[in-house]
Amino acid sequence: MKSDTPGALRQAASLGLLLALVLGGRHVGIALPPAMGAVLGLGLMLVAGDLAADLVERVGLPHLTGYLLSGLVVGPHVLALVDEPAVHALAPVNTLALALIALSAGAELTWSLLSEGARSLLCSVGAQLLLVLPGSILALLAMRPLVPFLAALPLAGAVGVTLIWGVVAVSRSPSATLGVLAQLKPDGPLTRYTLGVVIAFDLVVLFLFAIAKNVAAILTDPGASFSFAVLHDLGVGLLGSVACGTTLGLLVALYLRVVGRELLLFLLIVSYGATGLADYFHFESLLLFIVAGFVVANISRQGERLLEAVAAGGRFIYVVFFALAGAHLDLPVLAKLWPVALGLVLVRAGLTVGSAKLGSRWANDTPLIRKYGWMPLISQAGVTIGMAVSIGQEFPSFGDALAAMVIAVVGLNEAVGPVLFKWALDKTGETGKAARTHGGLTAPAAPAPAQPG
C-alpha cells in the first residue's frame, strides 16, 4: 500500500484536470458522432482508469476496482462523458479484449496445472454445482413475491426463470481473476487452484447455460416443447468451437514458430477474424479462444511466446474491459433492485463459501485453500454480463427484467470479488511470488530500459 500524500494529491488533481478538459470540450465544442465519441471515450477510460487504479491501490484495493469506478463515473449513468451510443460503439474493443483474455486463459492452463490439481478441480466444480446451482434457484423462488416480473409468472414459468438464474449464479470471472493476477504477480497453491477452477467453470457454464435457456423457454411458454434438436445444435456448437479453436491454436503456433514477428498485429487479426467466424457459425467464441490458447501452450512450445505477446497489451486490455463493464452498470436499475440483488449476492456468497469448503474437504486440500479458496470465486464480470445480454435478447417477456437483475448482482460482485481475491492472495503470502518475469495477462510485461534525464 502506498502512503505518500503528495503523490495521491497529484493523481487526484490529474484526474480532476482530465475530467475538466473533457467537460470543457463538451461544453465549448461541437457534438461528436457516436464513433468519434467512442474514440474520446476510449481515451478517457484509459487515462482515467489508470489514474483511478493508482489511487485505489493506495488504499489497498486492486486495480480492477479503479478501472470499474472510472468507467462507472465517466459512463452514461453518472457524468455521462461517455454516452450510451459511444459505449455501444466501443463493442469491437471489448471483443478484442475478451478474445485476448480467453486466449491467455487457455494458454495458462497447462497439462501440469490440470493434472496436479485435477482432484481439487473436480471436487470444487462438483460441490459448486451441487450447492450453488440448486441453492440459488431455491433462493430466488423464495424471493418470488419481492420480484415483480417473477410474481407475475405461473409457478412453472418462475421455475424456468430461476433455473437460468441458478446457472448465472454459478458463473465466475476469468477476466477478473486474470486481472488481479496481472497486478499482483502471485504464485502458489491458491493461484494455481483459482486458475484451474475459474476457467473450468467457464466451460461448464457455457454448456449449462445453453440447456437452461432451452428448458426455461419450455417452462415459460406453454406452447413450446422440448426438442432434442436443441441438444444437437448445442453439441454442434460446442464441438465446432473446440475444432475451430484447435485449428486456430495450431495456426497461431505455426505463425509464432515460422514468422514470429508483428505479433500484436497478428493477434489483432486473429481475434477479430476468429470472433467473426464464431459469430457466423454460431460457435462459442470464448470456448474457441480458450481451446486455441490451450493448444498453443500444450501441443507446441510456443506458449510462453504467446503469453509474452499478449502481455504487451495486458494493461490496455484490462483497463478497457473493466472500465466498459463499469460504464455498463445500470445505476438506476441497481437503485431499484438493490434489496433483491443484495439478497441474491449474499445467498450466492454463502453458498459459494460452503461449497468451496466442502469441495476442499473432499479433495483434501491444504488448509490455506480450505480457508481462502472461496474468495476468488465471488467475482463476476464479462461472461455473466454476456449471459445477461443473451437473456434479454432471447426472452422478450421477462428477459430484460431478469437481465437488469443479473447486471445489478454482477455490479455488486464485481465491486467486492476482486477485493476479496487480492486480500486472499496477500494473506496467503502468494503476492509477488511469480517466478516468471513475463508471460500472459497474469504477469506484466518486462519494463523498458530506463532512460536518464
Partner: protein
C-alpha cells in the same frame, strides 16, 4: 463486427503482399514508402474491383483519425532538445526553410494552374495540397541506410531534413484544420494555435504523471500513449482543432521533458510503418471519383517534385559542404508517412470533390516518391559517394 471483419481480412491481405514483396520478410521493407498498399487499395476500392463499400470506408474513419493522431504523437516523440541543439543553427534554419520554400513554390505553381483554368481547386484545398507536398518521408533515408548501406554527410543532412520538415507540416495542419472546420470554437488562427498548444501541453502533463518516475513498464507505456492519443483525437475534433497537431505537441513535450522519452520512442517505433500502411491502403480505397482526380494528382506530384528541387536548392545554400549541393532536392522527393496521414485527416473535412483531390494528390506524390524519388535519392548518394561501391549494385 460485420464492418471490422472484412477490414481485418483486407489488412491481412495487404500485409501478406508486403511480406511477399520484401522477399521473405528479412529486409523489413516493401517499397520505400509502402506505396504498394496504395495500389492494393485502388485495386480493391471503387476504381478497381469495388470490393470495399463506401460505408465501410466511412465506418473506419474514427480508427483512421486515431491512427493519424498516433503518427503525430510518434513524430513529436522524436524531438529531443539535445539533438536539436547539436544540429547547429544553419541546419536548423534549413530544416524550416526548405519545407516552407517548397510549400510556397508548390502553392504558387498550383495557383498558376488554377488561374489558367486547368483545374478547379479551391484556395484552402490548394494550401492543404501544398502543405502535404512540403514534407519528405523519413522512410527514404532509412531505406538508403538499411538497404543501400549508405553512410555520409549528405545522407545525414537529408535524414535530418526529412525528420524535421514534418514539424512544418504539423504546424500547417494546426492552422489549416480550424480554418477549414465548418463549425467549431477556434476558427481564428491564433486562438486555434493557442488551443492546440494548450491541449497538447495538458495531455503531455497527464502522460508524464501517469508514466511516473521509475523504470517504464511497457504495458503502462502503451496505455498512456494510446489514451493520450485517443483523447487528442476526440477533444481536438470536438474543438475543431487538428488531432495530428495536438498529438504532435503532446508527443513533442513528452519527448523533450520526460525521462522515458527514449524508451517510449523505442517502444512505439515498430508501429509507425504498419500505421502508415493502413492509411495508404484506405487512402487508395477511398478514391472513387474517377481518373480526373488522379490526373490532377499526377500533375501535382510532378509540380511537387519541381518545388522540392527548388526548395532543396535554396535550403542547401545555407549549409556547408558537402551538403551544399544544387541537387540536394533530388534526395527529398520521397513522400508518404505523416504527410499522407495529414492529407487523409484533412480530406475528411473537405467536400467530397475537394477531399478527393487532396487524397489523389497525396496518393500520386507517394507513388512518384517511390518510383522516381527512390532512384533519385540513390543517384544523389552515389554522386556524393555516400554509398560504398559494392552496394551500388543493389537494385532499388
Amino acid at each position: 463486427m460485420t464492418s471490422v471483419l472484412p477490414l481485418v481480412v483486407l489488412a491481412a491481405l495487404a500485409t501478406l503482399i508486403t511480406f511477399m514483396l520484401e522477399r521473405g520478410g528479412r529486409t523489413g521493407y516493401g517499397w520505400v514508402a509502402g506505396s504498394e498498399f496504395v495500389l492494393v487499395g485502388i485495386a480493391i476500392g471503387p476504381l478497381g474491383l469495388d470490393l470495399l463499400s463506401s460505408e465501410l470506408v466511412t465506418a473506419v474513419q474514427p480508427a483512421v483519425a486515431l491512427t493519424v493522431a498516433w503518427l503525430g504523437l510518434r513524430l513529436g516523440l522524436r524531438f529531443r532538445p539535445t539533438t536539436l541543439r547539436a544540429l547547429g543553427a544553419r541546419l536548423r534554419v534549413a530544416c524550416v526553410l526548405e519545407p516552407v520554400i517548397t510549400l510556397l513554390l508548390l502553392r504558387g505553381l498550383l495557383e498558376v494552374l488554377v488561374r489558367k483554368g486547368a483545374f478547379e481547386l479551391s484556395g484552402p484545398t490548394a494550401w492543404v495540397i501544398a502543405a502535404v507536398g512540403s514534407a519528405t518521408t523519413k522512410s527514404a533515408t532509412q531505406w538508403a541506410r538499411d538497404k543501400l548501406r549508405a553512410r555520409g554527410g549528405v545522407l545525414d543532412v537529408l535524414d535530418t531534413l526529412s525528420t524535421l520538415d514534418d514539424a512544418v507540416l504539423v504546424v500547417a495542419a494546426g492552422v489549416l484544420t480550424p480554418w477549414l472546420a465548418p463549425t467549431g470554437p477556434a476558427r481564428h488562427v491564433a486562438v486555434a494555435l493557442g488551443a492546440t498548444l494548450g491541449l497538447g501541453a495538458a495531455l503531455a502533463v497527464l502522460a508524464a504523471l501517469l508514466l511516473g518516475r521509475g523504470a517504464l513498464r511497457t504495458d503502462i507505456g502503451w496505455v498512456v500513449l494510446l489514451g493520450v492519443c485517443a483523447l487528442c483525437t476526440g477533444l481536438a475534433t470536438q474543438l475543431g482543432l487538428s488531432p495530428v497537431a495536438c498529438a504532435g505537441v503532446a508527443g513533442g513535450l513528452v519527448g523533450m521533458f520526460s525521462r522515458h522519452a527514449d524508451a517510449l520512442e523505442q517502444l512505439t517505433r515498430t508501429t509507425e510503418r504498419p500505421a502508415v500502411q493502413v492509411l495508404l491502403f484506405l487512402g487508395g480505397a477511398a478514391l472513387h471519383q474517377g481518373y480526373v482526380a488522379l490526373i490532377l494528382g499526377v500533375t501535382v506530384a510532378v509540380l511537387r517534385g519541381l518545388a522540392k528541387l527548388g526548395g532543396g536548392y535554396l535550403g542547401s545554400r545555407l549549409l556547408h559542404p558537402p551538403a551544399r549541393r544544387a541537387d540536394l532536392g533530388a534526395g527529398l522527393l520521397g513522400a508518404g508517412g505523416v504527410a499522407f496521414a495529414v492529407a487523409t485527416s484533412i480530406a475528411a473535412q473537405l467536400s467530397t470533390r475537394q477531399g478527393e483531390l487532396v487524397l489523389a494528390s497525396a496518393v500520386a506524390m507517394t507513388l512518384l516518391g517511390d518510383w522516381v524519388g527512390a532512384p533519385a535519392l540513390r543517384g544523389l548518394l552515389v554522386r556524393a559517394e555516400n554509398i560504398p561501391p559494392l552496394a551500388r549494385e543493389v537494385p532499388s
